[in-house]
Symmetry: C2
Subunit: 317 residues, 2 copies
């Protein structure tokens, strides 16, 4: 199927798998530490180079991820895989380093209201906390990434000024944070907006330093990936099964679905290095693990190459 599409060579699209963190954090069902470790260890064999494996936030704030220390200490480290931890403050950074996280992901919303709702502090306080973390991590060899959440819109404030997003990117970089994520936290981005903002940000930092984090809340996740890829973005977050909903859109879809994304890339001839059959097997195990259906579509539909047997009556026509 792909061969016929391979008349041009595409750059690799790097998928950062975030199901163990952004996927599980709002799950009402407790996933046992051993099951989280098994999921991450399985994902490590699928060809990912980056896995967001957990977070070191307050267990009261995110009880579903309260075992981040044990998870990071017990997962099998695969060579060539960077295991990322989300940390909200210096205490989280200390825990993450003790548990041998390879990279820390810090999060602040472009929207003041959303940052107060999500992080329970102002953007100014978030930046001060980031500064503490940057100084603490310095010299440890641990990598740093910072996310601009609600970069494409806020569920409270609506439209977010693009200059503000670009300004935050500059602030992060000036603080010494190399990796930047633009997050469409509640799925408000559209391909035109994505093209414009991503092109602007890529004037300021190399593609290797930029991650796009899209949610499929309004069905535009994969269209937004293509729009960003077309203007030069190369790294994208995605969650197995499309896990990770939005508390403001009950029943709507979550993160863009890893196997749906990898299938799109496979069909278009965009290399990812990720093995789709491994993903499908893992994704098909999620309903049993979580006790509910998941939004990803490829696990239900199968790949294009999974052709169906011809019905008996057809042979008689």
């Amino acid at each position: 199927m792909n061969a016929a599409n391979n008349d041009a060579q595409f750059d690799k699209l790097i998928v950062q798998e975030v199901s163990p963190r952004d996927g599980l954090q709002i799950e009402p069902t407790w996933v046992e530490t051993v099951d989280k470790i098994e999921l991450i260890d399985s994902l490590s064999t699928a060809g990912f180079t980056r896995i967001e494996a957990g977070s070191f936030v307050s267990p009261k704030a995110i009880p579903a991820l309260r075992d981040g220390d044990a998870v990071f200490q017990q997962i099998e480290r695969h060579p060539g895989v960077i295991y990322v931890a989300l940390v909200p403050n210096l205490k989280g950074a200390e825990r993450a380093l003790a548990a041998r996280a390879d990279e820390l992901n810090l999060v602040m919303s472009a929207s003041q209201t959303h940052n107060r709702a999500n992080m329970r502090m102002s953007c100014e306080s978030s930046l001060m906390a980031f500064d503490d973390i940057v100084r603490y991590v310095q010299g440890s060899g641990v990598l740093l990434n910072a996310t601009v959440a609600t970069a494409f819109g806020c569920p409270f404030e609506g439209r977010i000024d693009e200059d503000r997003v670009v300004g935050i990117v500059d602030t992060y970089r000036e603080m010494g944070i190399e990796g930047i994520t633009l997050a469409d936290t509640t799925g408000m981005a559209n391909p035109r907006h994505v093209r414009r903002l991503v092109a602007r940000v890529l004037e300021r930092l190399p593609a290797a330093a930029l991650t796009l984090h899209f949610h499929n809340t309004r069905g535009l996740g994969l269209a937004n990936v293509l729009a960003a890829y077309e203007v030069g973005a190369r790294r994208f977050d995605a969650a197995l099964g499309g896990l990770g909903g939005c508390p403001f859109a009950p029943g709507a879809s979550g993160n863009i679905c890893t196997e749906d994304l990898v299938n799109m890339c496979d069909e278009m001839g965009i290399p990812t290095g990720v093995d789709l059959p491994t993903l499908l097997a893992l994704s098909r195990g999620l309903p049993a693990l979580l006790g509910h259906d998941v939004p990803g579509q490829l696990a239900k539909a199968g790949r294009n190459c999974d052709v169906h047997p011809v019905p008996e009556y057809v042979l008689q026509i």
Copy 2:
């Protein structure tokens, strides 16, 4: 929200609403004739210029649409709306004309196997039936459209040769059929494939004569719309709520969802003429009508401009 995105002028994207036909045809729940008529009459007020309102196939083959005659006779005709009927053969065309359909849509699959499975005849027999219909309709003022089903892939045969699809388009046009639909019947298309095939077909007929019919089975429906739009396609089928699954992908999504499509266009500044609040109200009534949840996402997530109240605790930070 849109104003800021409106720095370039886009051509109108014409949405043909197909929920009354492709949406309802596989519904296991019987939708009363009066409810079908009410749905179509409501859709007629939403700004569509084209509605596929029913079909004139054998009641044994598609029992859910066995009341096509009554539906077409009793719907309110809105000026400027073309009411399309799907017809499989001369008998269906006779019924459709008697019921005052404005346009007939004929369907044949590019895949022989799929045509035998779906239409219970060979492609050659389908073309002979088309010829009868073309001659019957001549001079009546009724418009003709013909669909190439499985144009982007077949669930039995897999890949479909693009030359074959283009050849069928030529055959249709040579037979005197003006409108052409390329249908991705089971959601196997990808944006790259779409760009290539649509560009080829648009070398042979004007954009006003071409409709793209995408299913969202593997999550690529809206990305495929944009790919086709970018190479010049202007008319797209979509179904309210994303109704209309695929029998080969149980649980997977159906047609691309009208309100998700119109939302994408509104956010990007692509005019459609369709009123999104009307669509959302109609879509939110579908679960009660059909007895199950529907795949459309915007009805769950709301529009970007539907901002949420700021939580009490945020005001105290």
